[in-house]
Symmetry: C2
Subunit: 337 residues, 2 copies
Amino acid sequence: MAATLHDVANLAGVSFKTVSNVVNGHPHVRPSTRERVERAIAELGYKPNLSARSLRSGRTGAIALAVPELNLSYFAELASFVIAAAEQAGLVTLVEQTGGDRDRELALLKSPRLRMTDGLILSPLGMGQEDADALDVAFPLVLLGERTFDWPNDHVTMSNLNAAHAATEYLIASGRRRIAVIGENEDEVMGSARLRLRGYREALEAHGIPYDERLVARATLWHRADGARAMHDLLDRGADFDAVFGFNDTLALGAMRVLQEAGLRVPEDVAVLGFDDLDEAAYAIPSLTTVDPGREWIARTAVETLLERIGRKGKDLAPRTKLADFTIIERESAPKD
Amino acid sequence: MAATLHDVANLAGVSFKTVSNVVNGHPHVRPSTRERVERAIAELGYKPNLSARSLRSGRTGAIALAVPELNLSYFAELASFVIAAAEQAGLVTLVEQTGGDRDRELALLKSPRLRMTDGLILSPLGMGQEDADALDVAFPLVLLGERTFDWPNDHVTMSNLNAAHAATEYLIASGRRRIAVIGENEDEVMGSARLRLRGYREALEAHGIPYDERLVARATLWHRADGARAMHDLLDRGADFDAVFGFNDTLALGAMRVLQEAGLRVPEDVAVLGFDDLDEAAYAIPSLTTVDPGREWIARTAVETLLERIGRKGKDLAPRTKLADFTIIERESAPKD
DNA sequence: CCGATGGTTTGCATCGTTGTAAGATCGTCA
DNA sequence: TGACGATCTTACAACGATGCAAACCATCGG
């Protein structure tokens, strides 16, 4: 059995409360006592029982991060940053996968598993306005992704609309006029897909380019395979385009692969622009021009925001929205001109 | 404040222990009582306090997974499978990143943070024979990666040596004779890098091809950037090769990118073979021939093995090694002939 | 030499749950 | 009707830690 405060106390010849004081860095402990206790701790290899500690203190020292899937590189890289940021704050991170499924997202919010943590960072995909009540929870919660619904929570994100607008404008500025998009998803009531589509449309409009539905390809989950499938759709229906804007990098990469299989040259025949700036994007062939959404900032800020909620005054704060800056990274698949 | 057993008991007009019995599906509870209690539970939105439960029961319902980085796609995909397998067993997963750093791996094994979990799945990278003692821990521990040291733990892996041997042979069978490798790392005393190098050498030897140090490029961490750097090294030093075996897919992809930048055609001038079968590999241009190490099997088996250790008889089991089957997936970057 | 002072140590109650054992209730049978 | 199991419910003691308040003990000034 693992050693307890009592065991250490017996060995050191003090009361177990004194050991607790040493462990917690209580100010008034005589140096000689402290040293004796510390020796006993080392000898027994004592480690505090975190269940007991959190039962007593009400804090667990863990946060939960819920993303659709770690298989999606964007979320893997995001999770990596979140875990690192949490660790810096002395917290461990419990990772859940929702599959982007509304029911699983809702179930998670009600799950007793969350009682194991001090708060949740959730990247919702399936939920909509009708789920606002489910999001009005008693524990600290920070949402990743834009505040498009009237949800009572903190949000950390970048402006999907502005970024998509800028990306589209970038393609227009480079001389492209028939710009296809991949990733539209009408099931998603108002998430990134919808916002990015809106940004795309507004940019077209601002430049007097008509919106053409035949250039819009849908994709529900954003894997490479979905991007490939969408590009096949576009090609099969004989769509005529000189650029593709993928709503994320994996879609764009899947599409780029199909383009080249079809004998089209990137960027000569078709420029390709992605969204996320995955590590992979820089090493694709050709390398992928993409939107850098400030992933690391988002991760760090999400953890900070959650910590504020967890803190003493967390309950009193009004819901906040924090926006990251985005940048367009120029690479080979869509040169500036 | 969240509701407790007491609150529910008051509302339902029973003792708090009866509520506990209902929650735990205790057999002898009158249906009418059960129903009354369940209504009270629903009304108050009662959720058991997991800290208290695990203090009492000694089980936390969580496992820890420690990998070098989630940024590395292999580990992201692995983590995804581990989390899913754990969830099926009703466990949540806490993810730690070690950076492949020996000190952080050792620190993790001693960390009180682990008391929050029932066991650990660790993918060690920096540790060696001298750390055997540190691995002789009191909690359930399963290691990912091959048992090359005399470590007192369960191992789940595939045969790095056989897989690398087969991969090299595949290239030889396709007519290549000057096969470079990327990923050698002499710091790593006896991990995957060393084993894969050994497999490579043995395959060469079996076919009477001399081992040529100038064809061996090192890389410590296995990011795309490291693969790119290694390939630059090879090209800069004028190495003469007609194939490259990357010790993982990201290395291979980074290298492939540099090859094509240098005007070399893949696979005509240089065949490229990777290791891991990332989702990405199928969509690279050209698509990447690679070794599928049975990642999902490894993840599932690691969780199962850990559960056996956690179980009643876990302490009595001798250390086991479980080997996954690997397959070579033929794609464009290295056709069979 | 005593009480005040302030640092140092301790005892007790408590967090919310579960296991054990004992108590209450009920129907059944002699 | 009363005793007796069987079924249902309850009381109590942990699990290991922390917070509070009280107790202890030097040291110092008067």
